[in-house]
Amino acid sequence: MIFQTVDFLQVLAEIIGAILNFLKPIVSPIGAWMINWIEVVLRIFPKNDLALYIILFVMIIIIGAITNILWPGDKPPKFFEKKYKLIKLEKEPERVEYKTLFKEEPTVEFKKFGEEFEEPGDDYKESAEEYEDF
């Protein structure tokens, strides 16, 4: 046979055979279980009716295209956009650039302080409320 005369193919076949033999005791029982449920599911699929599969193919593609046109994923969906705006209005403090105040490069300590300050937690809310009361 042609496959036995080419050395490379023979070596390749032996390597694949060795891998399959090594995996067989672990993977074969799982494969047998897979076959059980697959055989049950395959009974549902109609035989000798390719038209049905073509219709399914076209339908899935049309639905996929419409879904991607409506929700491409690069901007928030409308329901999420509203929520996002509310969060932004509630939480975002007024930002003051360091340079507009001091006209110098910020020190390392100030930068660290700034990073901590940029994460507002409950403390920020409380202090804002206190300020409003005052």
Binding site: I30, G31, L42, F45, A65, P72, D74, Y84, K88, K91
Partner: protein
């Protein structure tokens, strides 16, 4: 990524899956059907051939369309997770349909002369079982991905839209 790019990506992967699951197997089995080696004509049974081609076309179409949906969806989206999982499940059916259709036990008949006739068959069933076992691990991974996308939905969205704790990332 915009809708146009998503769709192009989906079309490219759909084309790749059509070639892998339909075109290559079709030509392989057609080639095997009339294989002639060392001057001995080896013929694949006609009925088996038709059954194999039917199942390859049917599941190939399903896999390709699901691949389109899956690959055109945004990264880490729930719909991508769902369709990737569905694709793997249909892939399993496709692999097993090889056996179901008779492709795992292929009977070859040769008739060289009056004194030299016979048959042999190739049994791929054990190999397919091992392959399906490996596929199971892929199903588990895709299932894990889907659960991850559902649980971390908010975080993924914040990351995707550049929002962090209510701030817009610069």
């Amino acid at each position: 990524m915009g809708a146009g790019k998503n769709l192009i990506k989906g079309i490219i992967f759909m084309g790749a899956y059509i070639i892998i699951t339909m075109v290559i197997p079709y030509f392989t089995f057609t080639w095997i059907k009339d294989l002639s080696d060392l001057g001995i004509p080896i013929v694949l049974e006609q009925q088996e051939y038709e059954s194999i081609i039917f199942w390859i076309s049917a599941f190939g179409l399903l896999i390709s369309s699901l691949a389109f949906f899956s690959y055109s969806s945004p990264k880490q989206s729930i719909r991508k997770g769902v369709f990737a999982l569905l694709q793997i499940l249909v892939n399993s059916l496709y692999i097993w349909s090889y056996k179901f259709s008779g492709a795992a036990d292929i009977l070859f008949q040769f008739d060289a002369s009056q004194h030299m006739t016979g048959y042999f068959f190739l049994n791929f069933q054990n190999m397919i079982m091992v392959y399906l076992g490996i596929y199971f691990l892929t199903i588990v991974l895709k299932g894990y991905d889907l659960v991850d996308f559902i649980i971390n939905r908010e975080k993924i969205r914040e990351k995707r839209y550049g929002i962090s704790g209510g701030y817009e990332k610069k």
